[in-house]
């Protein structure tokens, strides 16, 4: 269960305080629930995801995570360029307290990311596709209760895409998801419930179709 209470957020810009991005979002996200997060560009979807993921703090309000929540997948960062893929993977494993099962995790990550020998090369030499594959493999290596996903579905070549889609389906089946995407098809495929972000407020829908409907109506009017 992730509960947000009266979450407000605004950023400090170069010229003073920015607009309120979130204005009093109060929402409970059950653990075993796949939620799609939708809204216009700039509605604060990624901001909300970062706050849920704990890498950004709300300006006001509080958030509580009573389960293991992943870092926001698909957002930038998370890899150190001067270190090899393996060293990065080790670091993330240790960070999450998997010192004991390090070997298994590394074997899995190396295997899934299909990096081969490049796994022992510095990450800065990787192409963007290789980096994305490494990050995706990393996120699959841990058992989180809820995964946070920001526009992740299209990564790598056709074969890898197929594989990651299957893995993703597996995730969606056994863990909770909070997913940001503009792709209606993936929303319908992976999510049951929906959160619609509109003018700084969040609206919960038990069915993703209703959320998409409201979103579309607001766009049309």
């Amino acid at each position: 269960m992730i509960s947000l209470r009266e979450v407000y957020k605004r950023y400090r810009t170069d010229h003073g305080l920015g607009k309120w991005v979130l204005q009093g979002v109060t929402i409970n996200i059950p653990r075993q629930c796949n939620v799609g997060l939708i809204g216009q560009n700039g509605a604060g979807k990624s901001t909300l995801l970062r706050i849920i993921g704990g890498i950004d703090k709300p300006t006001r309000g509080s958030i509580e995570r009573r389960c293991r929540v992943s870092w926001p997948l698909g957002l930038g960062g998370g890899l150190q360029g001067s270190l090899t893929g393996k060293q990065n993977a080790k670091f993330v494993c240790r960070l999450h307290g998997h010192e004991d099962s390090l070997r298994d995790k590394l074997a899995f990550i190396r295997d899934f990311s299909e990096l081969g020998d490049a796994f022992d090369e510095p990450v800065k030499t990787y192409s963007s596709g290789m980096q994305a594959r490494l990050k995706f493999a990393l996120s699959l290596a841990f058992d989180f209760d809820v995964y946070l996903v920001d526009e992740l579905t299209a990564v790598g070549d056709a074969a890898f895409k197929k594989k990651s889609r299957q893995a993703f389906q597996g995730l969606a089946d056994h863990a909770g998801l909070v997913m940001v995407t503009h792709d209606e098809k993936s929303l319908r495929e992976f999510c049951q419930a929906g959160i619609w972000l509109h003018q700084g407020n969040a609206y919960w829908f038990d069915r993703i179709d209703d959320a998409i409907q409201s979103y579309k109506e607001s766009m049309a009017s």
Partner: protein
Amino acid sequence: MSISRTPLDVTISVWKALFLREALTRLSAGRSAWLWLLLEPVAHVAFLMIIFSTIRQRVLPGVEFALFLAIGVIGFHLFKNSAQRSIGAISANMALFAYRQGKPIDSVLVRIFLEGVIQLFVGVSLLSIMALFGFDVLPNDPLRAITAWMLLWLFGAGLGLMLSVGATLVPEIGKIANLTFTPLYFISGVFFAPFMMPAVIQEYLILNPIIHGLEGLRSAFFRGYPNIAGISLSYLAVFSLLTVFFGLLLHMRFSNKLVTH
């Protein structure tokens, strides 16, 4: 399924992960980086020896000049590296903050700790090498030597904690701080003994807390080392505690701002 870790568990695993990563990058940066760590102070001492053995003939009573220099260089480097390496700690670890477990202060604390470990290793190696050359390197008062060493480290740590916040929020602070370390080297008594200075200058010299640490270290090594009036480790201790306190305070106050820019 959801085994929740206590905050302490999380912090410890973060420190462990960060320490290994920092140590790796510090010791494997470039060809034989670990060798340079040792060669740098050796070169320093050798260089100073050459200069001072030619221009200055005055001999300090009961004090080996090479050992005198070595202690000064090691002590100052301990302080300087702890403070200076902290400045870049947060920006170098920006990628880490994509995982909520890591906080800016973790990266700074880990660097300070690593620098302490490295400088301890360097210091012990340097003294051991000098022992092989026949110097009497064992401190006369080991407890005082350890205290002085720890305080110099803590002062560097405190300054580093403060500068790491300052330099991340206002980059100019980092640049100015980096410029200050060189003049600080010259007025901290690394290569001169304060008691050989005129009384007028001594008055000003002892305002600098680092001199208290270096002189404390030397008086711990050399029996009957003539400390000037006013040298006390407590003076450095006050500075160390104050800077650590304010450094931690700054980190608490600005912990959010350091990551979200």
